[in-house]
Amino acid sequence: MSVLAERLTDTVGAALERFRHLRDIAAAVGIWAFIASLFLWFFLAETQLFAIGVIVGSVLALGAIGLTLIYGILKFANFAHGDTMMLGAYVAFFALTGLLAQNARQDTEIPFSLDSLPGSVEQIGPLSFGYGLILSAVVAAAVIALIVIGLDRLIYRPLRRRGSGIVIFAVVSLGLAISIRSVMMIFWGPSPRVYVTGIHPAERFDLGFTTIALKADQIFIFAVAVSLAALVYFVLFRTKLGKAMRAMADNPSLAEVSGINTDQIITWTWLIGGALVAIAGVLLALQAQLNPNLGFFLLLPLFASTILGGIGNPMGALLGGLIVGITQEVSVGIELSIAGQEILPLAPGYKFSVAVVILIFILLARPRGLLGSKSL
């Protein structure tokens, strides 16, 4: 009898083992079905906030792509990324207006800045800004890329040579985050700023079942974010540099013995990550405002997007950024009651906490992320 039972359990166990991949597939289907139905509900119930979420999400995605590249290739969590993003926004602000804070109330202006170019603040079509801001964003991308490469040479490279652990890198990057934040406070003061003042009307779009209002700027933000993400995809998967970067993310030692110049790849990684995050910062400040305190809070949605998509996976970061951005925006507007208890909408102060909840869920359910962390 017991022999029979034993044989039976063995057979069942072997069968389960054989169909293990089926269980994994079922889990994956479950997760994707859950996400798809959740977002269908979001879209139908709160179309307006969903649209805003897509725009915020595309900006987050741009930041998260840079973060995930650094995480995947340099193997550490860069806690300075959120503040670097904000610094990018401020560098563009400085390039555009030439303003520096003199004291709490007054600004001083340096003699030359991009807005003194002829016609640079004239509005392009329906957009609220002129070509001056676009030039400033390019300047910011270049400056931030140079700064992060410089910081890598000065700080991270000696740590790498010494073989420091990831914790030391993380603590150093947190120290840099605090330093960058105080530099922004020193030069531009703690109060929020905007690129272009004034009210810019939104345009209405009829979707059949509802209408949504979007500003031309917001559509511009989305277009820029998507084209930059496409550019990163092209670089990573269609160029030799991208191939080397992916090889290094996969196995740094193997990449090195295969003749890949790892130092050069690290420089390229910082360059791409820095430029992307600077432009993300400019786009974010265009959508919301410039605020030196925002940098730290941005870390939470950025890391949530990175881990959600799978560390080192840029397409995952794109998807993660969109999911986090949409959930974040929709959760403060959508209504949901369970058993007479109102659960949603959340109070606006919880906006960044949504990212934390997503992060904890994904760590419990799928720590490798939705798209897996090895597919860079």
Partner: protein, 385 residues
């Protein structure tokens, strides 16, 4: 080599001189002024040392990477406040419970002056430990940076909860009028000395507890874990359980720190628990002092809080307007730059980690070396990485 050996005493001396001379000069060399300034300074150092001790248990000994000290700090401070305050009276002040009047159940020995505080501190430790327990389940099995990101997020989440939930802890206005232990026994002017004594006593008790714990077989497993998880697991130790215990033990110490912080300030509000003030500064203190060394943790708290205080004192001097109006930001830059340069130039901190395995083994070594003289083992050890 020689100059490097002088670094620790020199920085200690410089900070000590500065925190004595600056207030003395600004108060016109008044003895009372300096004493009261130094008492306040030393009390804060003692309280913050409790946090660095807790962080040292987590990072320095167990290798658990907690970037959300603010969360445990906040849970400790609010729990302690709720356990000692009376229930809310007016409708403008809203918070849950307020156990202060119920906990004073011994009718003699003036128990209202100390009993609620004991309960409050114990509850603070338990709540912070419970938070650590809950957090360790999803994160401790994963790579250490996941824990860092999660704890940083949870600290922010908890701060958002205290602000948004109106009836919980009086939202953004915070809790004020927290009672203080033994307050009625002393002249209000002398109370600061009493509280200094309390803070130092708590610190000493915790210091001895941590030193004992770390030197015990349990502590040896923690330190082995920190050095090499694989080997420890291969020696048959349950890595997850030991990591969890180290994490919870450190969090409980931070809870106690939150409690004595709340009783010292007499008020708590969400502003205090910003990631910079309530997390980062403890990391700087631990890294400057030397992680893996409890004395280093306390020395680090002293040095960094000294720099912090001195940079605020500079405000009273005749500085150019450009610097004066930005003194807070310059101070933040100084602290941020300090940790980067410490980790780059002196990663072991001011007091390097002690390579002591067990006091028994050490006695044995001493006995053996006394019998046949051997060269001293070198004191300086590889960097803490």
């Amino acid at each position: 080599m020689r100059a490097e050996r002088l670094l620790t005493p020199a920085s200690f001396l410089a900070i000590t001189l500065a925190v004595i001379i600056m207030p003395a000069e600004r108060s016109g060399w008044s003895f009372d002024g300096v004493i009261s300034f130094l008492t306040a300074f030393a009390t804060t150092v003692a309280i913050f040392s409790v946090f660095t001790l807790g962080l040292n248990v987590q990072w320095g000994y167990t290798g658990v990477f907690n970037f959300g000290v603010a969360g445990f700090f906040m849970v400790g401070a609010y729990t302690a406040a709720i356990f000692t305050k009376d229930p809310p009276e007016s409708e403008f002040v809203q918070y849950v419970y307020g156990f202060g009047d119920k906990l004073d159940f011994i009718p003699f020995l003036a128990s209202d002056q100390w009993l609620p505080f004991l309960f409050g501190t114990a509850a603070a430790a338990i709540m912070a430990g419970a938070l650590a327990f809950a957090l360790s389940i999803p994160t401790l099995r994963l790579r250490e940076d996941y824990l860092a990101i999660t704890t940083i997020g949870i600290a922010e989440l908890l701060r958002a909860v205290t602000i948004e939930e109106r009836g919980l802890v009086n939202s953004a206005r915070g809790l004020i009028g927290i009672p203080r232990p033994f307050h009625d026994f002393f002249d209000p002017g002398d109370y600061k000395f009493v509280y200094f004594a309390i803070a130092v006593l708590v610190l000493l008790v915790l210091f001895v507890a941590v030193e004992r714990g770390i030197r015990s077989p349990w502590g040896r497993v923690l330190r082995a874990l920190r050095e090499d998880e694989m080997t420890t697991a291969a020696s048959g130790k349950n890595v997850f359980a030991f990591k969890m215990q180290g994490f919870i033990f450190g969090a409980m110490i931070m809870g106690v720190g939150g409690a004595i912080f709340a009783y010292e300030r007499g008020s708590v509000s969400p502003d205090t628990f910003s990631p910079f003030f309530a997390t980062f500064i403890f990391w700087v203190m631990l890294m400057v002092g030397g992680s893996g060394n409890n004395k280093g943790a306390i020395l680090g708290a002293y040095i960094v809080w000294g720099i912090w205080t001195i940079s605020l004192q500079l405000q009273g001097y005749d500085l150019p307007e450009v610097v004066k109006s930005r003194i807070f930001f310059v101070r933040d830059l100084l602290i941020g730059g300090l940790i980067v340069s410490v980790l780059l130039l002196r990663p072991q901190g001011l007091l390097p980690q002690e390579r002591r395995v067990s006091i028994w083994a050490e006695r044995e070594v001493r006995r053996v070396t006394r019998q046949r003289p051997q060269p001293e083992p070198s004191g300086a050890d590889p960097p803490v990485t």
